[in-house]
């Protein structure tokens, strides 16, 4: 197994479970299951036990491994020098399990759907660009940027609304960009996170080749997960593009008042997406946008930025739902945290977070008190002139 040489080095001290200030446990799966085995240290010790044949690959073991949301809280707070590789260890173990073909059915189904349809929804490729109908968003044809939407934004009803907001807003800001429409395929970030490295490589190479053929050099992504793949994993496969999350492009535009915004009175708390924040260190761009909206009050949750609590959708859990369920599921905990700030909007910058938190609001019966909106949707509400 890759990274096998570090699994014995975990002291299981448990700093990985906490926020940096210890205000709460911040590992989503530990927070839900409350067995040490579901914490990063637990995984390290159990992976070692599995490699040493002291335990078997069971349903429970699969749940332990695949309930990791790859949120990187452990990487942020582990005190050891190998902290950067903690999630890599978990992914390496998943890869081994995939290679042996012993994985949870939900994971198998997800991978199968991507393999067959190029998306997890089993939807036809020509539906991909449908979200853009009725907007001013153009197809990519040599513009400055490619706007990459990803599977969730292309097919999920809630996320499609965000895609339209992002598209409209970028157009309104005068950014020169286009989309791939039905030529877009899965970026593979979740495929990689679920341990199917071969399929990930195939998807990445396919995308890299297409991007290169089209002369694409700069990519704006709507989904932080795609942003992560393009920024961190594609270069190793020969795909070196300038990758941006859309908030990074919009922040300077909005902050410099190039887009006139009207007063929008609301109390907003921002939920950091793990793949924008901890994985890629971008905490400020979305906040800059929110702070630039007149009348908007931004309230931070206790667990924010490096200490943000994950919505529970990362690492493929958005699709597999291995971590979901019950009143202690991460998305419900997160919604309660957001609600306790007194905010009436929880702002997100990731379609997966949006959907996860939307679901949780319904389960928590907070529909009339709290609304989930993507940063782009909030800006749209504050636009002086509708697009």
């Amino acid at each position: 197994m890759k990274y096998e040489d570090i699994v014995h080095r975990c002291f299981r001290c448990g700093y990985c479970k906490f926020t940096g200030d210890y205000i709460d446990f911040n590992c989503p799966s530990y927070r839900k299951f409350f067995f040490e085995s579901y914490s990063p240290g637990g995984r390290m010790w159990l992976i070692r036990a599995w490699l040493n044949d002291e335990i078997k690959n069971s349903d429970r073991f699969q749940e332990i491994l695949f309930s990791c949301a790859t949120c990187a809280n452990c990487m942020e707070h582990c005190v050891f020098t190998f902290s950067d590789d903690l999630v890599n260890v978990f992914l390496a173990a998943r890869e081994e399990m995939v290679n042996q073909g012993i994985i949870p059915p939900a994971v198998r189904d997800y991978l199968k759907n991507i393999n067959i349809s190029g998306n997890p929804y089993k939807e036809p490729a020509d539906e991909r660009g449908k979200w853009a109908e009725g907007t001013s968003v153009e197809t990519y044809d040599g513009q400055d940027y490619l706007l990459y939407i990803g599977c969730v934004g292309s097919y999920d009803e809630r996320a499609k609304k965000i895609a339209r907001a992002v598209g409209d807003l970028l157009a309104h800001a005068g950014i020169s960009f286009g989309i791939l429409g039905d030529r877009e395929t899965c970026d593979g970030n979740e495929v990689r996170a679920l341990g199917e490295m071969g399929l990930f490589q195939f998807l990445a190479e396919q995308n890299i080749s297409l991007f290169k053929d089209l002369g694409i050099q700069r990519i704006i992504t709507m989904d932080p997960h795609a942003f992560n793949a393009f920024k961190k994993d594609y270069p190793g496969l020969g795909g070196t593009f300038e990758a941006y999350h859309y908030t990074q492009i919009l922040a300077p535009v909005v902050a410099s008042s190039k887009i006139p915004l009207k007063d929008y009175r609301a109390k907003v708390t921002f939920h950091d997406p793990c793949y924008l924040g901890r994985h890629n260190g971008e905490y400020e761009a979305p906040r800059k946008i929110l702070h630039a909206i007149p009348g908007l009050e931004v309230i931070e949750m206790d667990q924010s930025k490096e200490n943000a609590f994950c919505c529970g959708g990362g690492g493929g859990n958005f699709f597999t739902d291995i971590l979901g369920g019950g009143d202690e599921s991460p998305n419900r905990i997160r919604v309660r945290q957001a609600h306790s700030t007194g905010a009436n909007i929880v702002a997100v910058a990731c379609p997966q977070c949006a959907k996860m938190l939307d679901d949780a609001i319904k389960l928590e019966e907070l529909d009339d008190k709290l609304e989930v909106l993507d940063v782009a949707e909030i800006v749209m509400r504050a636009l002086d002139q509708p697009t």
Partner: protein
């Protein structure tokens, strides 16, 4: 035969019971070097009444029960030596009450030191508690159960001395309050002016009952903290130096360490002392007092205050000190254990020479690390070694070094702290026979079925 797992599930909910091999593997061991033994069940209860139910079930079925906090003792105290039920307490993590003016807090039995620190940082900026250097996951209840120490130990004694009340579930399943809270709504005293019954539980490692609530004394928190390090090459003078420092009554905490790596620490003993103040003047006055109390040693060139680089200060001022855990992987092996007897301060020179001797005899990276308890009344002395978890021979060498270190300290007049099962046996053997009988009487009366963390403090 009844299905214990179903019974437990009935008590705590299905999700919070496991008899799976994965949990059995993990909860069979701690990060230290004691042999593993698997539990039959692991449960994660939410309330004291669930614990009562679990203990009633365990009594009925005569199943061993082991309460566990973060499992950080390193000496195997929560390894279920005879199987049974491990109760992971960490879901009972509420902070129930802070009495600001009487300076105490009541927490549930699974609340971590980290969470308590964060709570006080946020809500009670003028109050603090004695934070140990064990990882932030260490629980308050387990820490007082093992007579842990912390940042305020030089001033106020063992962390268990700072307890001001307990709620305990007895092996019978009955629940009782200990201290002033037994007859008052206030949790200000663990015993006095009544008979102090906390002695029936503290130090017993769960062999007499399970702590479900702890009241802990809080102390004034000054706005500023700083750290100074006095270095000396004379181990024999360390007790005198500490005596002078404790005489000032100006120091928050005194830790001493000696280790060969990194190079900045080679060859010397480092007396790390923390000072606090609400103003620059207060802090500087204390600094002057502590520097000047050691002036004689500076003049005789037997020691001096080193220049602590600004980059080193955050590491030293960190609470808990994460660098202590980091010691486990300095050799990229993830292992760390120390034998930490409580010793008379005057035996520091002998113990520190012993740890160096053991490091060299067993070819191990070592650290001598000590914390002064009270005004020089005693010190915790750690014979600390780091080992490679993937190297069984090295683990065996470490085990031997720890055993020798502990026995050396015992012979020198020290007393084992959080002793392993073997050290408990040695302690009971050496102990005044009447005292031993008294312990036996207490244990047999409280836990007649012998189901509570069996193996621990068992007088044969």
């Amino acid at each position: 035969m009844i299905d214990i797992a179903s019974q437990l599930a009935h008590i705590v909910g299905e999700r919070f019971v496991s008899n799976n091999p994965e949990e059995a593997f993990f909860y069979a061991r701690d990060p230290g070097l004691m042999p593993a033994h698997k539990p039959d069940y692991v449960v994660v209860p939410k309330t004291a009444s669930e614990i009562q139910e679990i203990l009633r079930l365990a009594s009925r079925e005569r199943i061993p029960v082991v309460p566990m906090g973060a499992g950080m003792s390193l000496t195997g105290l929560v390894i279920p030596l005879r199987g049974g039920i491990v109760i992971d307490m960490k879901r009972m993590n509420r902070i129930l009450e802070v009495n600001e003016k009487a300076r105490y807090v009541i927490v549930e039995g699974g609340t971590s030191h980290g969470a308590l620190k964060a709570y006080l940082d946020k809500h009670c900026p003028r109050l603090r508690h004695s934070i140990p250097d064990s990882p932030a996951t260490a629980t308050v209840a387990a820490n007082v159960m093992i007579h842990g120490q912390g940042r305020l130990t030089q001033q106020y004694g063992f962390n268990s001395d700072m307890v001001s009340g307990l709620e305990v579930v007895l092996p019978s399943g009955e629940i009782c309050t200990i201290g002033s809270c037994a007859l008052s709504p206030y949790w200000f005293s663990k015993g006095a002016p009544l008979p102090d019954l906390t002695g029936l539980f503290l130090g017993w490692f769960g062999a007499t009952g399970i702590i479900t609530k702890v009241a802990l004394k809080l102390y004034p928190r000054k706005k500023m903290r700083d750290v100074e390090i006095f270095v000396t090459d004379r181990d024999d003078l360390v007790p005198d130096m500490v005596y002078e420092l404790t005489h000032t009554e100006m120091v928050e905490d005194i830790n001493i360490f000696a280790q060969p790596m990194p190079m900045i620490f080679k060859d010397n003993h480092h007396i790390t002392l923390f000072i606090t103040g609400d103003t620059d003047e207060e802090l500087e006055f204390k600094r002057k007092m502590v520097w000047n109390c050691l002036d004689g040693f500076i003049k005789s060139k037997d020691g001096g205050f080193m220049s602590v680089p600004p980059v080193m200060k955050p590491t030293l001022l960190d609470m808990p000190q994460r660098s202590v855990s980091r010691f486990a992987d300095v050799k990229k092996g993830g292992g760390f254990e120390y034998s930490g007897p409580i010793i008379p301060v005057e035996t520091y020179p002998a113990c520190t020479r012993k740890v160096m001797e053991l490091g060299s005899k067993y070819d191990l990276a070592y650290s001598a690390m000590a914390r002064v308890i009270g005004r020089n009344h005693a010190m915790m002395f750690g014979f600390a070694f780091t080992f490679n978890r993937a190297d069984p021979q090295m683990m065996e060498r470490t085990r031997k070094a720890l055993e020798e270190g502990g026995e050396f300290a015992l012979a020198a007049g020290g007393v084992f702290w959080k002793p392993t099962i073997d050290e408990q046996r040695l302690a009971l053997e050496k102990m005044d026979a009447t005292t031993r009988d008294l312990m036996k009487m207490i244990k047999e009366n409280l836990d007649p079925l012998g189901i509570m963390n069996p193996g621990n403090w068992e007088v044969v």
